[in-house]
């Protein structure tokens, strides 16, 4: 009945399916439950972010539809595919950030009106995290949900991590005008996309997947370092009496 199962051509048990889905989305789920579900606004951000990236994927599929299906075992059209998709998504990320700046202004003026404090740094970081998580979830569901196998799940996990945290880096980079952060996000995205092309070679995924995880851990480290620096900065700025 399900097209996805037809394509794989094997009978999959429910337990295995849930297992693979959790493999890809487990960390996101725990992130969701611990951070995002506490604040309703973050859930709304997550949903809108997922919607935006789903629309981006639909637009990309629409653009590439006349050229598909591509010939098998020829890898250079896929390079074009990845390149164009990454460029489009990075441009969209910038637009997303612009929209978020507008929303931040609205929220700040609303907070002033009802005499509440303005958005804290942690709030802004959390909104960026929710946006990134939306991106990651959209990606995982798109690439992984139809064809639940261990390979996809493992690769999807790496990508979810990359997307979640590069959104945080990107938002901070655009906000502070930090060139390093601004450039590193598209670079990471592009290199991750290109690394999956390595899977074309036979036994390529043995090299490709560990490298992908290397990129993911680099993203995590960079994001963690950046957030730590910002928090220390803001604490020093506001002085020891507050927070």
């Amino acid at each position: 009945m399900h097209r996805s199962f037809e394509i794989i051509g094997k009978v999959m048990t429910v337990a295995a399916g849930i297992g693979y889905a959790l493999l890809a989305l487990g960390p996101s789920l725990s992130l969701f439950v611990s951070v995002i579900s506490r604040k309703p606004f973050l859930i709304l951000t997550l949903l809108s972010s997922t919607l935006v990236w789903l629309v981006s994927l639909i637009v990309l599929s629409g653009l590439w539809r006349p050229f598909l299906p591509l010939k098998a075992n020829v890898w250079w059209p896929y390079t074009l595919l990845v390149l164009s998709s990454v460029c489009f998504q990075e441009a969209l990320r910038f637009l997303f950030w612009k929209l978020y700046m507008r929303l931040e202004d609205v929220l700040d003026s609303f907070a002033d009106r009802i005499s509440r404090p303005r958005l804290f740094l942690t709030d802004k970081l959390q909104i960026a995290l929710a946006g990134g998580l939306g991106h990651g979830v959209a990606h995982a569901v798109f690439f992984c949900l139809s064809l639940l196998t261990p390979a996809f799940a493992i690769i999807a996990l790496a990508f979810v991590t990359i997307h979640t945290f590069s959104m945080v880096i990107a938002f901070e980079g655009y906000a502070k005008g930090n060139k390093v952060d601004q450039v590193i996000v598209p670079v990471i995205h592009l290199s991750a996309g290109m690394l999956t092309l390595v899977n074309f070679a036979s036994e390529g995924c043995v090299i490709g997947v560990p490298l992908l995880y290397l990129v993911a851990s680099l993203t995590l480290l960079h994001c963690g370092k950046m957030v730590w620096q910002r928090l220390i900065e803001s604490r020093n700025q506001s002085g020891p009496t507050l927070r």
């Binding site: 798109f142 139809s146 999807a156 990508f159 899977n199």
Partner: protein, 391 residues
Amino acid sequence: MDRNQQRPRSSILDSLGEELIGILTPVSICMFTVVLLVCLLNSDPSSSSFSSIATAAYSETDSDSPWDKLLGAFLNSLVFVAAITVATFLLVLLFYLRCVTFLKLYMGFSALVVLANLGGEISILLIDRFRFPIDSLTFSILLFNFSVVGVFAVFMSRFSILITQGYLVVIGVLVAYFFTMLPEWTTWVLLVALALYDLAAVLLPVGPLRLLVEMAISRDEDIPALVYEARPVIRDDSRLVQRRVWREQRSNVNDDDVENNVVRAEEEEEQRSEEISVPLIDSSSSSSSRPETFLEGIGLGASGAIKLGLGDFIFYSVLVGRAAMYDLMTVYACYLAIIAGLGVTLMLLSVYQKALPALPVSIMLGVVFYFLARLFLEVFVVQCSSNLVMF
């Protein structure tokens, strides 16, 4: 120095948008349950001969040409929408003649039928699927208890709000699951037809639902309808199936006495909670009109009970259930589209502040996304995934 001992002030992010989530959660639960049921009980579509008024004009078979199917689906939808219109006008007539008790009894009866009959059928299907060992006596006792409690929950107003909400969601799930068993073309054309009907019935001056709302407001009564309320309200309620969204307005500029009665009952409720309630500030500025900010316009700033008719739950879930019969990718796309449509409808509700149809925007977006996903996304994702290319 004293500021050290002050507790840190909470950010606005803590409680902004709470009521939106309050209505999104049950809608999501309903859709998720229907998708689960469809996946678990995915029987062969042609084998289940589900005949209802929606297939009265034409029953689809696999061998017909697309044009025949389209025509047949169109006829089916016409019959169904006509039946619904007649029933709604009958409801308006009864409400006009103040036969409210009869309406309440009828709604209790229909809740009983749905829970006992449809609930029983689905439970039997599930028991059959999972080979659950249970005997008929236990089953009938459990079903009886379940249905009776359900009838009381939707019938009486002073029931625990959580149980009432749960039972309303269960009724929505049961009816939606049975609607997904309609033939495919009929389902899609029916959904679009119902969206258009909803638009007409609520917005046109001669529409039955608009008449109903106006009568209810002018008499300061509540419409007897099965309505899901996202917040507990200490008032007398009675319910029926309805298909629109409206919100009790925290109106500080409204001079209508009727509205003020309604709003007052909620303000007591509000002041107990700690969430951001703009009216706490507004009560000081009396009745001077102030320009609404963008956040209140999109419904995140104000607080008030959002009500969604059960028919909306049902048809959202029918759309998602039908998408589930194709692939999980389409479920994902349709779910996001419906949520986006609901968000847009709630935004419009805050702007226009009158009863609005909740079906059209969501159903239209859902249908568009379903076909986009089916035509474009699937090929793309198969291409990429079969070669382990991702970005």
